[in-house]
């Protein structure tokens, strides 16, 4: 039987190589997509770490400060002209500089923070007056950038003479980079070398405290009601639809709500952590409710039946048995919600938390910035030195988030139970 028509198996075999190629191609595309996303992630982290790690060090100048008694003669110690002490020390290093404008550019090498540093020292120890001391004092941000290699020498930010002075100081070993304590202890500042994140960290802390205090009890109570008590009726459906929709409403809309209602109607203070916390609480509420409901659902009915069987009331069964067993899941969801609230910026812009705030907030009603807003503000600043500080602040924020999410993972691993 010489059939001209090829057998099916032959047709299949002929196409097999092509089909296998397509299979491999498809598989590689999938793997490529994952690797590409991970590459993005790596690129993001590398560029932020690469920009940010230099902010951990701050260039300082070694100056010989003479706490001349005549400067403290006529005024209170706190009001003395400390910047003159710094200037005199610089003039003493370069006695050949006499011109007025030249002297001014010489004085510009040191940060205005150097004077604050001296003031702090003298206020702590009056006996310094009249003494002569070698001290490391912060340099101006342009000097800092030059030493770190972020600033072109010919960039025009520093003049030829200034560059020569810096070179001479470097040759004498009077320029060095030290750990940047200011960055972790100070509030915001217009001067990059004086700016720190502590104010923003405190602001974030107060804001999150308000958020947690409101959204956790409210969220858990809502979840318990919906999961354990709510009858199936239109009212319950309405609540559920609302929660699901709120979970997807853009965060900036919550900011509009805060602006119109909390600030407009209730007259609450602008820029205050308490308002920020309220807005973020409303925003995280759906997350916590949904996570808590899932946790409550995962408690097996046998536990409930056993509790009811020995005579517990429904409320006792929930409070004494179901809720404690669901608690790890609820806490995991809460931590994830808090982490999201910590990184949230947009709604806080709406309620005025973008103000330039130098002081470190001490209460829920003090004007404050939070970490992400601080990043946003610094990212907008033109000085080159703020780029590395923005990146460093980002690193701090990411560190907090990693710790929180890590905590959530540990909690889940440790207490997760399969029934």
């Amino acid at each position: 039987m010489n059939n001209p028509k090829p057998k099916t198996i032959e047709i299949v075999k002929r196409g097999l190589a092509r089909r296998y190629r397509a299979e491999r191609r498809f598989r590689r595309m999938g793997l490529g997509a994952i690797l590409l996303s991970l590459a993005f992630l790596g690129f993001l982290f590398v560029s932020i770490v690469g920009n940010g790690y230099t902010a951990l060090l701050q260039t300082e100048l070694q100056l010989e400060i003479y706490f001349a008694p005549q400067i403290f003669a006529d005024t209170e110690v706190g009001n003395a002209d400390y910047s003159r002490l710094v200037k005199e020390a610089l003039y003493a290093l370069f006695p050949q500089v006499t011109g007025r404008s030249e002297r001014r550019s010489l004085a510009g090498l040191a940060s205005s923070g150097a004077a604050f540093e001296l003031r702090r020292m003298v206020l702590a120890d009056r006996s310094l007056i009249g003494q002569r001391q070698r001290l490391w004092l912060p340099a101006d941000d342009d000097v800092d950038m030059l030493v770190k290699g972020h600033l072109e020498r010919a960039g025009g930010r520093l003049s030829e003479t200034q560059l020569a002075w810096i070179d001479q100081l470097q040759a004498q070993g009077q320029v060095a980079k030290h750990f940047n304590r200011t960055f972790f202890t100070a509030g915001d500042s217009r001067e990059p070398e004086l700016a720190g994140i502590w104010g923003a960290v405190c602001g974030s802390f107060y804001t999150l405290l308000v958020t947690l205090a409101l959204s956790f009890p409210l969220g858990v109570a809502t979840a318990v009601y919906l999961e354990e008590f709510a009858p199936r009726n239109p009212w319950t459906d309405l609540i559920e639809v609302n929660i699901n929709n709120l979970a997807a409403v853009p965060s900036i809309v919550f900011g509009l709500l805060g602006l119109a209602v909390f600030l407009g109607v209730f007259g609450m203070p602008r820029s205050a952590p308490v308002v920020g916390g309220l807005v973020l609480a409303l925003m995280t509420l759906p997350t916590i409710i949904i996570a808590s409901r899932a946790a409550l659902q995962s408690v097996p009915p046998s536990i409930r039946d056993a509790a009811l069987g020995v005579g517990a009331s429904k409320m006792q069964m929930i409070m004494h048995h179901v809720l404690p067993l669901a608690l790890p899941g609820i806490l995991t969801g809460t931590i994830i919600g808090m982490a999201r609230a910590l990184g949230e910026t947009a709604p806080l812009l709406m309620i005025g938390m973008v103000a330039f705030i130098v002081d470190i907030p001490n209460s829920f009603t003090d004007p404050a910035a939070v970490l992400p807003v601080q990043i946003y503000l610094w990212a907008d600043s033109p000085e080159r030195a703020f780029v590395e500080r923005t990146s460093a602040a980002t690193l701090v924020l990411l560190a907090f988030l990693i710790v929180m999410n890590g905590l959530a993972v540990v909690l889940r691993r440790r207490f997760e139970r399969r029934w």
């Binding site: 089909r19 397509a22 498809f26 598989r27 999938g30 997509a33 994952i34 996303s37 993005f40 992630l41 690129f43 993001l44 560029s47 932020i48 009890p217 409210l218 109570a221 809502t222 009601y225 919906l226 008590f229 609540i239 609302n242 929709n245 709120l246 997807a248 409403v249 853009p250 965060s251 900036i252 809309v253 919550f254 509009l256 709500l257 602006l259 119109a260 209602v261 407009g264 409303l282 509420l285 759906p286 409710i289 409320m315 982490a339 999201r340 990184g343 910026t345 947009a346 812009l349 709406m350 973008v354 992400p372 946003y376 990212a379 780029v387 923005t390 980002t394 990411l398 988030l401 999410n405």
Partner: protein, 459 residues
Amino acid sequence: MMLLTLLLLLTLSAYYLGLRRAVSVAGGPEEVRSLHSRPPYYGVLTAIWCGLPALLIYVAWQMLEGRLITYLALAQLPPELQTLSPARLNLILNDIRNVIAGNIAEGQISPAIQAAAEHYRRLQTISSIASGVVVVAAALAGLALVHRRIHLRLRARNHVERLVLWLLVACSTVAIFTTIGIVLSVLYEALRFFKSVPLTEFLFGLQWSPQMAIRSDQVGSSGAFGALPVLAGTLLISGIAMAVAVPIGLLAAIYLSEYAGKRFRGAAKPLLEILAGVPTVVYGFFAALVVAPLIRSAGQTIGLDVSSESALAAGLVMGIMIIPFVSSLSDDMINAVPQALRDGAYGLGATRSETIKQVVLPAALPGIVGGVLLAVSRAIGETMIVVMAAGLTANMTLNPLKAVTTVTVQIVTLLVGDQEFDSPKTLAAFALGLLLFVITLGLNIIALKVVRKYREQYE
């Protein structure tokens, strides 16, 4: 503050009094079995009745106190001051408050205000004393009422549980009030905006320049409020983001659910989730600092003029942010396709990729479309990336290399900073907010419907 501490102490002692009373009514610790409920419930019931009404009175008092005192203080002002405009009256009120706070040295201000400040201070003292008396009286009354009624047959547990249930119900309504609050606040301001700018101009106008002139003869004094260019920019950037996120996210989900081994999946999935956990402000900073200059210089080398705030940079980074969102939703949907469908395809001799392309994906398509719609709604509402990396001027263009603006960028630029609440400029932000809310709400409702319908199909 002191009053609240006192109230707390009273409530705590009410608990103990109720507990002791219950035990003594029963006839000693041995006989508590004869009570209807366990003794602590009697304590809790007493504490609730002692603390709750008093607390409500306190809160109400605090809310009304300020307005009442202000009203009374202003009524005492000399008549020539009372006829001033509300704005001037506010200044005077501020003076009075500053005198009380000690911010202004006495003697720098007129005697009338001095007297008013005295009066204000007196009213404050009276109010705080009165509120203290009323709150404590309410607490004691509640305590006494319950304390006297405790006897063997009092169903304390049922009372407490009913109160707790009502508390739970009250908590669950917060979500509804939040939605009502959002809708009302945005709608109210938007309606005021539509009084000065007609709705049709807002929806179909082709010009957006919300700057209002200070003087009437200035150039561009009228301001133009046509939202179409803003909307077009939003769609352009979201479109770019989806063009990045959907293919990558979908392919990643397919690989993870169909090909990857358990260990690879266990490692890659959390790493992808990190992309979703990075705050948007970090993405914005990344876009503005790294991606935008990169694209700009890449464009220059091939001779293209790329704006430094190009839609491409913002869209690209937004796409990266949305990848995990798309991939985890698609992953769920692909996993929901029954194994039997796959086995059928394998049985007919299909390769894995053929099975995926011709069986699994069509089966999962409705769910994936729902997930993509959710992702679109997230892209449209995304704020920080575009605020930091996209432009401010509204351009009606489809060129991804040009700078465009988005709805969220406009809301932020219009509302950040100090300005009066009733200029069309600020109100326009609320109109845009309403637009944003309606669009995202619509997308979400459709997406949830689609997803739910799809899930039911295989259950």
